[in-house]
């Protein structure tokens, strides 16, 4: 491995001072002169016709500046995938879930806007509604969208190899059904935005988003504007986890209201509205049949999955696809058949959440693999190691494991948790379990059909040579991406991190598809690295001309110019530099030639030095020539061991310790990698133990707040031993790949397997509440 000065260290995040001092501006901290406040009118019914809307009283209220509905504003259909543009900003004739959007009001203050909402009269005719997969699939069920019979929003059917033939060669075949529950991502900062038109008719939207680029495109389409006349700026963001990865009703409503009133319009969701908008984890039902030989060789998986998706498609096509495809690895599985169905229901739409599509599937299969290992009389770790893929392997569905430190991850947690000393040796009520998982480092395609670069970046050197400006439209949402890109730029340029000034999250800075699919470190990282290298090459080219030596004989390292073939006389350059700075007290003296001097000399020769970079996944040259790279350019992977105590009287689970190893290719910022690993464990524990969005019989959410939506607190968080594994990904910048989502994959099944080890009963439904564990214990006692 090459030696580096900046990356692979524990850098302090560049946003730490602003956040620690309270200077960081989130959307709710921002205001514009003369701004109006916007609010949404949302449906109280799960399914109803809109017979009439009377907005006259609301419009007459003093202080109200605009009331908009689908009946006085043009509605352009939009969505995530162009194949499923099934939403409009406001419902015209029908609402499809409690919280569906009917109207918006802009007024001089929030109180007036809320008062106006109460004056809007909507005449609804309630319709039969469907809330479950089974009900929605009935032949005579009410149809949410006419085009999609039996409420099947999307389906995927794939077979790789020949599962039927493979099962004939198996010694053991078992089938299990597993369910998770619908979730909320429970980020700290609810969605919010401020929309403002300038006097030239250009729109600027500040928004708490993960994807400024996609919001820009959707705004342009829905408002009928050129993309170049729409600018989206992302301020500091308090988390997203996938839910903020597409345009939302606020962004579109505020922009329409701003255009109508000529005033800036600010809108926010309250916490209940965050739940009503949804777009978080689906409710999945997995049925898996896995066959193995008696020596433990995995032979085939037959997998059927149904997803309860809510009223609109959102990311659903991708969700149902990933629920199947991400079981292609990390084990050598030669035969896999998948039938997936995403179903519309009269509930808020589900979407993408950390570990998109793969988390529940991984939990189901990793638990089943443990059961198979037990039936074969094999240790679960040995069973996994036997079947584990290695670097260079390709899955049956053509996921290319260009680097894969999965074996190293398993061995690290096995040894770190002292598995061999504990497994099978713990008393009743104590348990230990392990699981594995992996995830993509970005997707092969953008959401809309395009040959677009997935990201661009610009590096510009200041005229004094002292600062390297980096501009990227990527989205820092709390995960530390700005710091990672600053580190990559510093390393590629050859300067200390302190010389980097990075700005991001603004569509004026270029194209970046945003923070989702664990894509930014690899993809934006490539673009930033390329931009810095291009600027660096220009500086060295000018130096080569000035010093009359080849550029290849020089290097830039840690802010200084290195001459690789011995000392070079550069005092004439230094004298020229110093004479431009009479009176300055920090001019170079007897130190080596500095980057600042070289960069200034380059500016004097060529003007502003600018480097640009870009990235999109490469194309395949094999079976599907011309197609995108495949599911992803690279895959991060994890293994975890969870240790639990279970109260055999109450069913209460305490997670005592987690040992977590993740292969991130090569760590850019080691502290951030560990932060992502710990955050993933936290979210996984929430899904495993507590989290469920609950509804009444009318489709109303019962726990749409952070008091009743149970999730872990700091007090529930166990010690987590994080182990970074580095496999050096050939397709990643400096060898880096993802950590943000692969690290959540093993958590839930490791908990499931540990709980089984503790109590001797398998539970196939999440979350593992005290009640569910208690009744599982009671049923076991009855048997």
């Amino acid at each position: 491995m090459a030696s580096y000065n900046v990356i692979n260290t524990r850098a302090r995040r560049i946003d730490t001072p602003a956040k620690a001092t309270g200077r960081a501006k989130f959307i709710d901290d921002m205001n514009r002169p003369g701004q109006l406040y916007g609010v949404l009118l949302q449906s109280p019914h799960a399914h109803a016709k809109i017979r009439a809307i009377d907005i006259s009283a609301a419009e007459s209220l003093a202080g109200v500046k605009a009331v908009i509905t689908a009946r006085n504003t043009e509605m352009i259909p939009y969505g995530v995938s162009p194949a499923r543009y099934d939403e409009t900003v406001f419902c015209r004739d029908r609402v499809r879930h409690v919280g569906d959007t009917v109207a918006a009001v802009a007024a001089v203050d929030l109180e007036t806007a809320q008062e106006a909402l109460a004056l809007i009269k909507v005449d609804y005719e309630q319709l039969p509604a469907v809330f479950s997969i089974e009900d929605a699939l009935n032949e005579d069920a009410p149809q949410l969208h006419e085009k999609f019979t039996r409420n099947i929003c999307a389906e995927v059917h794939q077979e790789f190899g020949n599962v039927e033939d493979a099962f004939k060669q198996c010694d053991l075949i078992r089938t299990d059904v597993f369910k998770n529950k619908r979730q909320d991502a429970a980020f700290l900062e609810p969605q919010g935005c401020i929309a403002e038109f300038d006097l030239s008719g250009r729109l600027t939207l500040h928004s708490s988003t993960q994807v400024p680029h996609y919001v820009q495109r959707t705004l342009a389409m829905v408002l009928g504007m050129p993309v170049g006349n729409v600018r989206v700026v992302k301020p500091y963001v308090g988390g997203g986890f996938g839910i903020k990865a597409a345009a939302n009703k606020l962004e579109l409503s505020a922009s329409i209201l701003a255009r109508k009133t000529g005033k800036p319009v600010k809108m926010n969701f309250n916490r209940e509205q965050v739940f009503l908008f949804g777009r978080a984890r689906h409710h999945f039902v997995h049925k898996m049949t896995t066959g193995v030989r008696k020596d433990g060789t995995l032979m085939a998986l037959e997998h059927e999955c149904h997803l309860e998706g809510g009223a609109y498609a959102s990311f659903g096509i991708a969700t149902v696809y990933y629920a199947g495809s991400l079981l292609g690895g990390p084990y050598r599985l030669p035969n896999m058949k998948y039938d997936g169905y995403r179903i519309y229901t009269n509930r808020p739409a589900c979407g993408a959440q950390r570990g998109h599509g793969g988390v529940a599937a991984r939990a189901a299969w990793e638990q089943q693999l443990d059961q198979i290992a037990e039936e074969l009389g094999m240790d679960p770790v040995d069973f996994r190691l036997k079947n584990m893929m290695q670097t260079g392997d390709v899955t049956c569905n053509e996921l290319n494991m260009s680097s894969l430190g999965m074996k190293e991850c398993i061995e690290a947690v096995r040894d770190g948790a002292r598995w061999n000393a504990k497994k099978g040796k713990l008393p009743q009520g104590k348990g230990i379990g392990m699981a594995c998982g992996f995830f993509v480092s970005g997707a092969g395609y953008p959401i809309y059909r395009s040959d677009t670069y997935h990201c661009t970046a610009t590096v510009q050197l200041t005229e004094d040579g002292g600062t390297v400006n980096v501009y990227t439209a990527s989205a820092e949402i709390g995960q530390g991406s700005d710091t990672a890109f600053a580190m990559i730029a510093a390393e590629a340029m050859g300067v200390p991190l302190e010389m980097i000034r990075l700005q991001s999250g603004d569509t004026d800075f270029g194209v970046d598809l945003g923070a989702y699919s664990s894509r930014q470190t690899l993809m934006t990282g490539h673009a930033v690295k390329a931009a810095a290298e291009e600027a660096r090459a220009q500086v060295l080219a000018v130096l080569a001309e000035e010093l009359k030596i080849p550029a290849d004989d020089m290097n830039i390292k840690n802010g200084y110019i290195e001459f690789t073939n011995g000392p070079v006389e550069f005092m004439a350059l230094r004298a020229r530099y110093i004479k431009e700075h009479r009176g300055w007290i920090d001019n170079p003296d007897d130190e080596p030639l500095t980057f600042r001097e070289a960069s200034r000399i380059a500016y004097l020769a060529r003007g502003t030095i600018v480097g640009t970079g870009k990235y999109k996944p490469p194309v395949l040259g094999g079976k599907f020539k011309g197609a995108a790279v495949g599911t992803s350019p690279a895959y991060g992977c994890s293994a975890q061991i969870v240790e639990v105590s279970v109260d055999m009287q109450t069913g209460h689970i305490t997670v005592e310790r987690v040992t977590d190893a993740h292969d991130c290719g090569y760590a850019i910022n080691r502290t951030s990698v560990e932060g992502q690993m710990e955050g993933s464990v936290f979210m996984g524990l929430g899904e495993a133990l507590f989290e469920e969005v609950k509804f009444d019989d009318h489709g109303r959410i019962l726990n749409a707040d952070l008091a009743e939506y149970k999730m872990p607190t700091a007090l529930d968080m166990p010690p987590v031993d994080t182990i970074i594994i580095e496999s050096n990904e050939p397709n990643g910048p400096f060898g880096a790949k993802e950590v943000g989502e692969g690290a959540i994959m093993p958590t839930i099944p490791a908990v499931l397997n540990a709980v089984y080890d503790a109590i001797g009963v398998r539970i196939n439904e999440l979350p593992l509440t005290c009640e569910r564990v208690f009744f599982a214990l009671k049923n076991k006692d009855k048997k």
């Binding site: 696809y321 495809s325 989702y516």
Partner: protein
């Protein structure tokens, strides 16, 4: 003959199959979803499904992240 592909009107030869169109429009991908007149079309039916005028086809690459 005119049909609709991914929301746009396209002219294709008479007798073209879905497999022909995948090749013609460079949609090849191991994960490709084909929706034919609003319904999922299994891969084994691609070579034998001959499109007719005014048919609607969606070629979907589901690997778009999230």
């Amino acid at each position: 003959m005119e049909i609709e592909i991914n929301g746009f009107r396209e002219t294709v030869p008479e007798g073209a199959t879905i497999t022909d169109l995948i090749e013609r429009f460079e949609e090849q991908d191991i994960d490709l979803i084909v929706e034919y007149n609003g319904r999922f079309l299994y891969a084994h039916k691609w070579p034998v499904t001959v499109v007719c005028a005014h048919d609607s086809i969606e070629f979907i690459h589901p690997n778009f992240g999230g």
